[in-house]
């Protein structure tokens, strides 16, 4: 008791002594009147749900006995859950194929627009970016109709060539069909990120390269590609996060492609269906946390690798 009472007093004395010797400006709390409101809402919509998810994942609701604490049982179940890993490997394949194609296309487009060799480059920049503004639901409905047998372009093309080769909804093609929609939506957005990075190259650098007699290819390799490296790392991280979260596209296309998209098609659809069709909230929270962790680890690894390359 006495220590509790005396210690602050000693602290105050010390602080006073310190201030007497070396006057220090008082702590500046004014910034919080600006940063405070954001922080309050942030805690409500980010921190609290995250903490709640962690809490939920440690419990199970049983038919008999109600909600009981089970430690890491849900995590053990998830790690051995074939449905979860099935969806996970699907988004992983998606990530390995779709993301490189999309980013490469975006980079080519950005370099072309930045090259000053295009006629009407501003028009290209604007129009290629526009699909980003189209809501995912509309993009998927639109592409879904185009893919469809009823009045889609796929059916027209098949009629034209007298075949039935183009079947975007076939089980072996559907992931590619979804990949095409995602590429269409985001290639322009990534192009713009790369283009903005290219714009930061000082004009004098190009003049210097010109005086040195560098070829266009050399400029590309020595000036332009290093300039976009940071942007490529950022775009890759965002694309990884997007791929692991894949939900809107398969969910909206599911009714159009009958019986091809299962309820556990992606981990996110699995978590959604577990909670809203199955009422298994605790297990759904566990799946969400595991996916969040995997995403964070991979995103972090990409960032480390990206920055290490930059140092070289």
């Amino acid at each position: 008791m006495t220590t509790v009472l005396t210690e602050p007093a000693v602290g105050v004395d010390r602080a006073r002594a310190a201030r007497g010797r070396r006057p220090r400006p008082p702590r500046d709390w004014r910034g919080w009147q600006f940063a405070g409101p954001f922080a309050v809402v942030f805690v409500l919509v980010f921190i609290a749900p995250l903490a709640y998810a962690l809490w939920l994942s440690l419990f199970q609701t049983r038919m008999i006995g109600g909600t009981v604490f089970v430690g890491f049982d849900n995590y053990a179940t998830a790690l051995g859950d074939a449905q979860f890993w099935d969806g996970f490997s699907r988004v992983f394949v998606f990530l390995l194929v779709q993301v490189p194609i999309m980013l490469l296309l975006a980079l080519v487009a950005a370099l072309a627009i930045d090259s000053a060799r295009l006629y009407a480059s501003g028009l290209f920049r604007l129009v290629i970016f526009l699909p980003y503004a189209v809501p995912a639901v509309v993009a998927v409905l639109m592409w879904g109709f185009i893919y469809g047998d009823n009045f889609g372009l796929a059916a027209d093309l098949n009629d034209l060539f007298g075949t039935d080769v183009i079947r975007p909804f076939a089980p072996e093609w559907i992931l590619g069909s979804i990949g095409n929609i995602v590429t269409w939506e985001f290639v322009g957005y990534n192009m713009l990120i790369f283009y903005s990075a290219l714009k930061t190259v000082p004009y004098e650098l190009y003049e210097a390269a010109e005086i040195d007699g560098a070829s266009g290819f050399q400029v590309l390799k020595a000036v332009k590609l290093p300039a976009v490296r940071g942007a490529v790392v950022i775009a890759t991280i965002f694309s990884i996060i997007g791929s692991f979260q894949l939900f809107n596209e398969p969910n909206v296309i599911a009714p159009l492609a009958a019986n091809v998209i299962t309820s556990d098609y992606t981990p996110n659809m699995y978590a959604y269906n577990l909670s809203f069709a199955g009422q298994q909230y605790n297990y759904a929270a566990t799946i969400a946390i595991i996916m969040g962790l995997i995403t964070a680890v991979i995103a972090y690894a990409v960032q480390l690798r990206g920055t290490r390359r930059e140092d070289r």
Binding site: R27, D28, W29, G31, P37, V41, F42, L44, F46, A48, P49, L56, I113, A116, R117, F124, R125, L126, V127, I128, F129, L130, P131, A133, P135, A136, V137, A139, F145, I146, N150, F151, L153, V187, G188, L192, I193, A197, K199, T200, Y203, E207, A209, E210, G216, F244, Q245, N248, V252, P255, N268, Y272, F276, Y281, A288, G292, T295, A296, A299, Y300
Partner: protein, 296 residues
């Protein structure tokens, strides 16, 4: 320099002034077609009657000019529920994206200009949040909000839309670059309060950055699908995205009642405003984004 030596200027393979390339332009026209053909398909088919959809092939125009009729039908179907969805979407955009822009601007500015206690931790946590998959939070957010009695109300959509970590980051960068310390010091000497300085001086300098943040917040809320899907049961509170998907889903299953022409016309109505906003404000977001990439 260039005027002194016109030879450099005229050199055909100059790096700073390259020749226009028709081949490269043609390749880029493929990109352009990829972006535009689906939208073109949408507009052409929104102009067909439901029968024509099945009889006239894809990109060929239908015999009649049905777009106007389709739009009227879209707004009158089921007592005009589509108009209600449009109004809801506007409400979510104004309150959600507007609030997100305001909070991100205030906080980004505060973090850039004041060395308050906890600043580094604040910044680290918010930037870390960019990497947290939004949908990983959706289920717990739903459960939390349902305990608070907020589900099935507009608040369930508006409150989570209020946070834009990317927006905060962008304003932080923008403040460091375009709000000089001397200007703030001068205003302080004149006796202006910190809030007054922000609202009368800083906010004007930050305008292009604020427009950029607002645009991306508008797109995010206008296009939001997952959050309203889980938060709302009552169709009266649906935004356009969830409503359109419900219309589309009604073409299959038991008691199917296909309304493809309304889905297509509704899609056109959904994308026209957001594309118009982007085209009108392109000067702002293009310059705003390049500022973000300087530090990024």
């Amino acid at each position: 320099m260039r005027t002194i030596n016109p030879k450099v200027h005229r050199r055909p393979h100059s790096i700073t002034h390259p020749r226009k390339s028709i081949a490269l332009t043609l390749i880029m026209i493929l990109f352009l077609a990829y972006a535009l053909v689906p939208l073109l398909w949408l507009v052409i088919n929104a102009n067909k009657t439901q029968t024509e959809l099945f009889t006239v092939s894809g990109l060929a125009p239908g015999g009649s000019f049905a777009l106007f009729d389709n739009i009227v039908a879209t707004f009158t179907y089921r007592d005009g529920i589509f108009g209600r969805w449009l109004g809801n979407t506007l409400l979510y955009v104004v309150a959600g994206a507007g609030g997100a822009t305001f909070l991100a601007t205030l906080a980004g500015y505060g973090l850039a200009k004041y060395a308050m206690p906890g600043r580094r931790a604040y910044f680290a946590v918010v930037l870390g949040a960019i990497a947290v998959p939004g949908t990983a939070l959706a289920v717990p957010t739903f459960l939390l909000f349902s305990r608070l009695g907020l589900t099935d109300t507009p608040w369930a959509i508006i409150i989570p839309s209020l946070i834009s970590p990317f927006g905060l980051y962008l304003i932080w960068v923008y403040t460091l670059e375009s709000v000089p310390k001397e200007l703030l010091e001068a205003a302080r000497i004149d006796g202006a309060s910190e809030m007054r300085i922000f609202f009368t001086i800083a906010i004007r300098l930050l305008a292009p950055g604020i427009v950029t943040v607002a645009l991306f917040a508008i797109v995010a809320t206008w296009n939001n699908y997952f959050l309203p899907l889980i938060m709302l049961r009552d169709p009266d509170w649906y935004p356009l995205t969830v409503g359109l998907n419900q219309w589309s889903a009604q073409a299959s299953g038991v008691g199917a009642e296909p309304i493809y022409h309304l889905v297509l016309a509704g899609s056109v109505i959904t994308i026209v405003p957001i594309i118009a906003v982007f085209i009108l404000l392109q000067r702002f977001w293009q310059s705003g984004l390049s500022t973000g990439s300087v530090k990024g």
